[in-house]
Symmetry: C2
Subunit: 543 residues, 2 copies
């Protein structure tokens, strides 16, 4: 059987565009003599559609797309994911389904069994799990059709689910496993996903075709990397990462293939690629062209600028240099050097005059009170106004440059440096920002060396350094990782060797700043636990 894997970049709710893409891929598959083409999960509507699924018209448009695809299924099988209505009044009104279309009609539908409802996933919100299983028969082969999470229960010690759909399907003696996925990227997910596919092949001794999405949907970045594995567990095809790919493959020949070498992607390289794609798709899919960001001379804004320039083109990214009386000379120099290195437009807009006026106006109300964090925040907020004014006037979108360490401990000013339509680095710890900067500079200096080497500072008061109020980032980041990614509480962190006082101080900072994170832009997700919908902590609570 000749199978085509179509790893596409869908646009949520853009049924026409998604359909046109799929029809093009079908035509290519047909030209390449394919028996069967396989798309991703919820391919008609894009993933994750979230509460769009509660709109009847949205489901009807997906049904119309299926009908259209049926018309293109003469002489070729089409496997794709799409919602299906639940005809039983009991239970949720939809299934997350995988369809087999051929000869002009729907030949087979299998519902998804394992509905992820953790981290960024909310599938049980919309879908009823499958309670019946079967296999599709197509051109003399029995196909086990599965959807994403369905293959992720691979006999681990603490399984999330109480049933295993592939175990159930085995009674029908399938000969090939097909999985349609929408599996978002995070830095350790590429390896994890590959090993999950291989574990299924080993467990069932069946070849497997695994098709993922690529492309970003607001915060989620789908990295592709679709796979064909033969029944011996040899990876015989791997589609590209972070780009679309349509590849046709002979499953018969696959059994005898020596396989392809694993192309290990470095963690920093994948994060770089994910963030560039994340920015690009945010702009492309919203019809935006121009970005603006503040350039402080520091490493966060420098890395963000590089990522934006690589995603959108230098001419589309404007930097604003907004020095104050507390800015050091090198801050402006380093920012200018960066803008010149990248060839991006930039403007210098001092904030001292505005600061003096605003503070002067407040003099009456603040009479007799000493300067404190209030005045620091006013500086950051004037920069917020300038950034947003530029964005409004020129139709640009402001990029937020906050990193994950700052975002975690609330080291940032709400409505100041926390402004922006998209948080580019807020899932990248400060220590990882340095790794990104070094990686970016591998083939020559794009980020000024001084931005990398100097001690981090918010420059909101004389001689301020981040380490005045925070532990060194190598310690802080490990502690934050334990709390955020590994959900270790105070006691477990102390048992793990962190200083008790430090643990209590840092956890208090993280917890007390839930309210800031609640009000920041979507965060491009590159870790297993990003701020946003994937991490739901109460604001009002006793921490």
């Amino acid at each position: 059987m000749i199978v085509t894997l179509a790893q596409l970049n869908y646009h949520i709710g853009h049924f026409e565009a998604n359909l046109a893409k799929m029809i093009d891929a079908i035509a290519q598959a047909r030209r390449e003599g394919s028996d069967l083409i396989v798309f991703g999960e919820l391919a008609t509507c894009g993933y994750p559609p979230r509460d769009f699924l509660e709109f009847d018209e949205f489901i009807r448009r997906s049904e119309n797309a299926i009908e259209e695809l049926c018309k293109h299924s003469q002489g070729i099988g089409i496997v794709l994911g799409a919602p299906e209505r639940n005809r039983d009044p009991r239970g949720k009104n939809l299934f997350n389904a995988v369809y087999l279309l051929s000869e002009g009609k729907v030949q087979f539908v299998q519902h998804k069994t394992l509905l992820p409802d953790y981290d960024i996933f909310d599938e049980y919100r919309y879908f009823e799990p499958a309670k019946n299983w079967g296999v599709a028969e197509f051109r003399g082969k029995k196909l086990a059709l599965t959807v994403c999470e369905d293959i992720w229960d691979t006999g681990m010690k603490d399984p999330l689910y109480t049933v295993n759909p592939l175990d159930e399907m085995m009674q029908f003696r399938p000969e090939l496993i097909i999985n349609v996925s929408a599996s978002p990227f995070h830095a350790s997910q590429v390896r994890k996903r590959r090993s999950v596919v291989l574990e299924n092949v080993t467990r069932y001794k069946l070849p497997m075709v695994y098709v993922n999405h690529c492309g970003a949907q607001t915060d989620l970045i789908f990295d592709g990397g679709s796979l064909v594995v033969n029944s011996k567990g040899t990876v015989v095809a791997e589609l590209p990462y972070f780009e679309e790919g349509i590849v046709t493959f002979d499953m018969g020949a696959a059994e005898e293939s020596p396989g392809i070498a694993e192309r290990p992607l470095g963690k920093t390289e994948t994060i770089y690629k994910a963030l560039v794609l994340g920015i690009k798709d945010y702009f492309d899919k919203l019809g935006l062209k121009k970005a603006v960001l503040g350039l402080s001379g520091g490493i966060d804004s420098a890395v963000t600028a590089v990522l934006a320039v690589d995603a959108l083109g230098a001419q589309n990214v404007t930097g604003l240099l907004m020095p104050s009386q507390h800015s050091s000379r090198h801050s402006v120099d380093d920012a200018l050097q960066l803008a010149n290195n990248l060839g991006m437009p930039h403007h210098v807009l001092g904030i001292s005059a505005a600061y003096d006026t605003l503070v002067g106006q407040l003099q009456g109300v603040f009479a007799g009170l000493a300067a404190d964090v209030t005045e620091e925040n006013i500086q950051a907020r004037i920069r917020g106004i300038y950034n947003m004014a530029f964005a409004n006037k020129f139709g640009a979108t402001l990029l937020n440059t906050t990193n994950k360490s700052e975002m975690a401990v609330g080291y940032g000013t709400l409505y100041g440096d926390l402004c922006g339509g998209l948080c580019v680095l807020a899932d990248v710890y400060k220590t990882e920002v340095y790794e990104l900067a070094e990686w970016i500079n591998t083939n020559g200096e794009r980020i000024p060396q001084n931005s990398i080497l100097k001690a981090p500072s918010a420059e909101l008061r004389p001689d301020q350094k981040d380490t005045d109020s925070l532990p060194p980032y190598d310690v802080l980041d490990k502690l934050l990782y334990g709390y955020i990614e590994d959900r270790m509480g105070e006691n477990r962190l102390i048992e793990a060797g962190f200083d008790g006082e430090l643990v209590r101080y840092v956890l208090k900072l993280v917890n007390r700043n839930e309210f800031k994170r609640y009000q920041t832009a979507p965060v491009l997700r590159v870790s297993s636990k990003a701020f946003g919908l994937g991490r739901r902590m109460p604001i009002v609570a006793k921490y």
Copy 2:
């Protein structure tokens, strides 16, 4: 059997405070000769604990609280909700459980079956549903113990679930149904909840004790209203709304009771009470005392000020009047009148000087470009800076005054009038804000009549009116209700009689402004579909 209903205001994660409250209630029940005291759902830890449930230490603290409560169960039964670990490795690691404690130990545990995973609920994220059912035996009575949603599948046409736990329990012939709930308020929920309880009583011909939480948890407001209903369907006790209550009741006598009259609460009155409680608990539970808000002379800020004053006391709520060159004389007069009516501190802080400086600084970058929405936003953002500067300097929390109609169509400036730690009115449509204002003025003018009567305006350019860019609020609000609360799409709205062009215009406004709502503070929820975690629409999508 003598039963005590304990309708308490829990604090999420504050195990000591919750435990102390429960122990006090047990002592009172004991004094009143009670056999059994009933608390709410997840009473040890508060509801909703969200991702706290993923922390082992959090669960351990709940287990410790259960142990402590056991020590207080000599001679009295204690029914309460709390998480329980799932000892089966398969499935999620927790159950949402109801416990019966007595004579020093856990006598019985029943797991929750129906896990709500819609709107603001995410229970399947954490909990495994029950697959086994039983009844607790206590002092010669068989008790059917249920948790919140377990009683909500009352034989409707399109049930969300495929099992019904009470149906399953009936084989064990229970004599009393007990439900421990955490059922949040919205304007039609009081009536709905009462009828659900009555439907269960009618269906099973059993008396029922229903215990809800009261008190607010960030955005969610639990309104209490716990009930005792005898087997004939007569409501024999109803606990207060929006306050704690501990009431002891003889279930034997209940069967012969003539019942109590229904005390219908007006919609506007309940919204008022809910919002006051929402503000109060946000401040109390976070240890905050002082609030600040901008007073524009308009109705939204006036209503917000009244609610804040009623929640926190006039001396704790400061109003900032921040006129610009576009502010009408009556704006300042009306705001001053309001502040005087309420007896709240206030300051006048003009924004013209700051505006002139900021716009002057931008002159170089904006050379040759006409004034547009950029300059309007700068005005709103200067007010944001003043509000936040006051909040920072005096340790106050800024209250956001945006209403739901504005929030829906994006009629507001991000980092300007959309600033604030809590959105007080953002789940109240503009037409409902008028109803609130009228209700507030029932016993004399607190809100100046002119704020109610004048045409709404943002006053960001000369003679601006809301109706310059929006349809009249009575039309707009109905359309928004159809789209937001009723999830009607474009076609269904047009079928329902709305003008096609208007529908497309308004839906486009709502959809294009997802990015603003993503960055606004938590919204006190008083409708069945509030902005926030209960409504999850993609930002990047083709709408």
